[in-house]
Amino acid sequence: MSSQRLPLLALLAAAIALPLVFRGEYFMHLMIMVLFYTVLASSLNIVTGYIGQLSLGHAAFFGIGCYAAAMLTLDAGWSVWTAMIIAGLAAAVAGFVIGYITLRLDGHYFVLITLAFAEVLRLVVINWEEVTRGPLGFPNIPRPSIVLGGEVMVDFSSKTHFYYVALVLVVITLWAKHRFVYSAMGRASVAIRENPRLAQSVGIDPFYYSMVAFVLGAFFAGLSGWFYAHYISYVGPDVYGFGFMVTMLIMIAVGGRGTIVGPVIGAAIITIVVEELRFAREIRLSLFGLLLMLSILFFPRGLVSVPDLLRRRGWWPGAGKTGTA
């Protein structure tokens, strides 16, 4: 079962060494975005991949994290690091409230109401100018800094600094998710995804575990929002828009939902593809859609399942694995 662990550790070692080898600014930016999207897509995957609920409002929790970071540091003058905790918690509290209302509903209503929630937040942010600065948003969000004994140790003037913060967030997210997946709670969540009626018959409370997953997912989405705000240094109403939502959905679909590694692969591939498609401008989204369709057509369980598919045809060593994580 924990055969997913070893490749992850190898990947981590490579990730730590990466900035020592490749130093290009643009390359670092790409890698930072990959890490950022890994946290965001992984957070959605906890809900959509493990509980099996399609939360189309997940971008709202990301947006709450972004705005919490911007408003706390710019308007309230709080430290960037305190803002990090609050951004995560604010999103988690919103997740609790929205989850409490929607998770009792039938799946279709759940999808619609979570979607509506994100849209309502976007409209509020656009119109409540005194607090949110409306469509202008918050420019010049401060960079973090690490101060020890009155001296600035790390000033985040280099992308490498952001890279390591993002890497720490990824490690925390994946660790938390790993513990979640390989626990009674993770198994209960998968049982709910696979067959909620049957899950109840063995004593599992679907509402309780859906709430836990929803709040957990919201928390990590909030954290990723905090990172985004300080890295990009600008936050506007767009963070609640459908763009982020579609991007993270595609990432978990392409990588493989309901797995730990899937969103990592999805984040890496989609981030890079999106960057490389910049030249294509107008048709970029269409190309994006096409890629998604092809990927789902050929790898319905995501790219994580490729070794499995190859093994079944004898093109890869080892017996064909029939189970899923």
């Binding site: 198994r187 009626r197 049957l198 899950a199 018959s201 063995v202 004593g203």
Partner: protein, 263 residues
């Protein structure tokens, strides 16, 4: 005192009275069969008893406790566990993972311990896994351990459902047509298993079943329903000879099959 007591239980769906004033008691250690033609209301009784549907009226007590209004997962937690008429497993999981998932009540820990594990968590995990191994062995599914449930043959699927039911650690099992679709050999095996579940494991069983051989062989008592009502109750022998039952349900086919019924 009876383990399960059902008192004048009724359920109507709009104008249709699916269950009408059913009273029924099952004692600790008994195997009771609930039979009747399709649409008689047997599955509805299961849904009412296990909290999947609210009754229109009536009382249900399990181990002396009133369970009307409790959620299905709470009722399962009390040790009253049901299976489903239509095959119900966790399709994308392996056989073993299905059974481990079913041992949730044995494995569950306080929320925070998911991230901050201590020895108690490891011990519970080990207990749940060992129990899952044991149940898998008991039902003879060991050779299918890593097969995805959706790839199982039908007979094995029905065994897996039984394994999932046992995984919840029941005091009492409600089995909805476990022999449906099984061949003669498989249902003979089921009979043996049911006797062991009741005898060795001490689990009380209420079973809805159409296969009369299974019913006659395992039941201590048989309850017959028709059009939502209880029309007969007694030993398998008694029920087999009951006029109304033969008319309503068993029909000529059964009389022909049955060994030498007195005229």
């Amino acid at each position: 005192m009876a383990l399960l007591e059902i008192d004048v239980l009724s359920k109507s769906f709009g104008g249709l009275q699916a269950v009408r004033d059913i009273s029924l008691a099952v004692d600790d250690g008994e195997i009771v069969s609930l039979i009747g033609p399709n649409g008689a209301g047997k599955t509805t009784v299961f849904n009412l008893v296990t909290g999947y549907l609210p009754p229109s009226s009536g009382r249900i007590r399990f181990a002396g406790r009133d369970i009307v209004g409790l959620k299905p997962h709470t009722i399962a937690g009390l040790g009253l566990v049901r299976t489903f008429q239509i095959t119900n497993v966790f399709p994308a999981l392996s056989v073993f993972d299905n059974i481990v998932a079913a041992h949730y009540l044995k494995a569950r820990v306080p929320l925070w311990k998911t991230w901050f594990r201590d020895r108690a968590v490891a011990a519970r995990e080990a207990t749940a896994h060992a129990a899952a191994e044991e149940v898998m062995g008991f039902l003879g599914l060991g050779h299918r351990r890593d097969m995805t449930a959706e790839n199982l043959a039908y007979g094995e699927l029905r065994l897996l459902e039984l394994a999932i039911g046992l995984g919840a650690g029941p005091r009492m099992l409600l089995l909805d047509e476990p022999a449906a679709g099984l061949n003669t050999e498989e249902s003979a095996r089921l009979v043996t298993l049911l006797r062991e579940i009741a005898g060795t494991r001490g689990i009380t069983i209420l079973i809805v079943e159409h296969d009369m051989n299974v019913v006659m062989e395992v039941s201590h008592r048989v309850v017959v329903m028709n059009f939502g009502e209880k029309i007969a109750e007694g030993s398998p022998e008694h029920v087999r000879q009951h006029e109304q039952v033969i008319e309503a349900y068993l029909g000529r086919g059964f009389e022909d099959e049955a060994p030498a019924t007195p005229a």
